[in-house]
Amino acid sequence: MAKRIDVSGLNAFYGSHKAIEDISMTVEPRSVTAFIGPSGCGKSTFLRTLNRMHEVTPGGRVEGKVLLDGDDLYGSGVDPVNVRRTIGMVFQRPNPFPTMSIFDNVAAGLKLNGSYKKSELNDVVEKSLKGANLWNEVKDRLNKPGSGLSGGQQQRLCIARAIAVEPQVLLMDEPCSALDPISTLAIEDLIGELKERFTIVIVTHNMQQAARVSDRTAFFNLAAVGQPGKLIEIDETERIFSNPSVQATEDYISGRFG
């Protein structure tokens, strides 16, 4: 299921403001790639160009290429809706559908895809909730609203919802920033399990988290406020944290930066 992503020469704009400039990188399949960098350097923007969510922002525009196993996501005739069905996303703040039950939240993506059988649906919901380490906590209240769960549970529900449709890639934008340390650990463990099946990209401000969960780390930076953000380097996480090739990376990681 997991696929590789090749980005080349990617620029993204908000209206006339260029938020990220000339980004090229490869995201390896069945691995976790972490994005780190100071606030405003365009990590979220870049992440959202990977599943064509950037363009739903008014004024959002993208130049360049994003290849998913060789197919250009921005090629003519590619339907962004289909792209988003193959590349799932988990947001900073848990956002389960408030009017839906826990079950329906997980089943929502499958129902969108149209073809499913009732019995199949039950299996997929159970499998996804188990995959998100949430099954034991909610199995007795699947028909209760998802908004009644704790923040950490809601975030795992959102992960279950995203993996229920078996995406090729899972994008996560600071998925733990609204959570307590215990929920954070639960989700980090989960990421470790999920990378067996999916390609995972995670944005985080937490250096320890990046070091703990990721195989490769990309460092983004911007020259000055108002300037577009750029990719400084991407390498094995171990190398980035021990012996990065760019001085700015080391400064940032060791806290000698902003």
């Binding site: 809706v81 996303m89 947001f91 703040r93 956002n95 559908f97 408030p98 839906m100 995203a162």
Partner: protein
Amino acid sequence: MDIPTDTPPPPSHVEDAKPTTPEQKRAARGATRPGDRIFLGLSRGSGIVLLLIMAAVAAFLAYRASVALADNEGNFLTTFEWDPAGVAHDGKPYFGIAVLVFGTIVSSIIALAIAVPVAIGIALFISHYAPRKLAAPIAYVIDLLAAVPSIVYGLWGALVVAPNLTGLYSWLDDYFGWTGVFEYEGGAPRSLMTVGILLAIMILPIITNVSREVFLQVPKMHEEAALALGATRWEVIRMSVLPFGRSGIISASMLGLGRALGETIAVATVLSPNFVINASVLDYGGGTFAQNIASKFSEASEYGRDALIASGLVLFVITLLVNGAARLIIARRKEYSGANA
């Protein structure tokens, strides 16, 4: 903590907690500064005055209504006539509201059935489909429509809309006449259906505006949740926008219904008042509470006016019931409402 929770605290404590002097009582209300005290007095005073005025009005109306009901020879709820002067009943008053209840509710239901879907459609178009350049002017025009006086709608309805409805009525008769509800026997289309259509046009702006406001308030994160799953624009609306806007749509419809139930001049201008209940909504005749009051009040005797006041009170009760029902619907699935997320 070793403080026993089930025994009362020592007496001195109780005395401490209870404000005894006027100063302490005021402090407990948070009104110690002169400004606070003046404001507290003003707001409480105006609240009491308002309640008193409303109570006085209600008492006056209830009294007048009871005078009328005491002498009524007909059954107020089931009589199909409005004859408080007793012209056809040896001078004995004989009147009832059956026709008015029927006409008011049927015309309002027709109005809502037409206006709500159209209004939701327009509101969604403005909030989620139209390019920004187009959305603002459309919203503005709808705002303007809400400001047109009802008499203008009434004249337009009587002179333009009604005469052009015969085609629609014949079509309804052809395809749905068998139900009995849409039988049309020709003649001037000044029926409850015409009233309903006109009311629908009149309440469309308010329902559209309120719905649009609610749709624009749907949190981005709910819409993006659906988008990121691969939802099309319509699916985003179905999964995020409409569920979030549901209670807003109900409130908007209630505002519209309130206007439809009480609309007077436009209905009086369009309907040919005829105190009957027709099985078909396309047959001319029928009446509504507000229209009946408006068309009879100026020529009624004092007793006749009391009778009309009695009918007005019933309209008031219906409006209250409708509002209560709407609140129940909104409250029933509160735990599922988007408001807390």
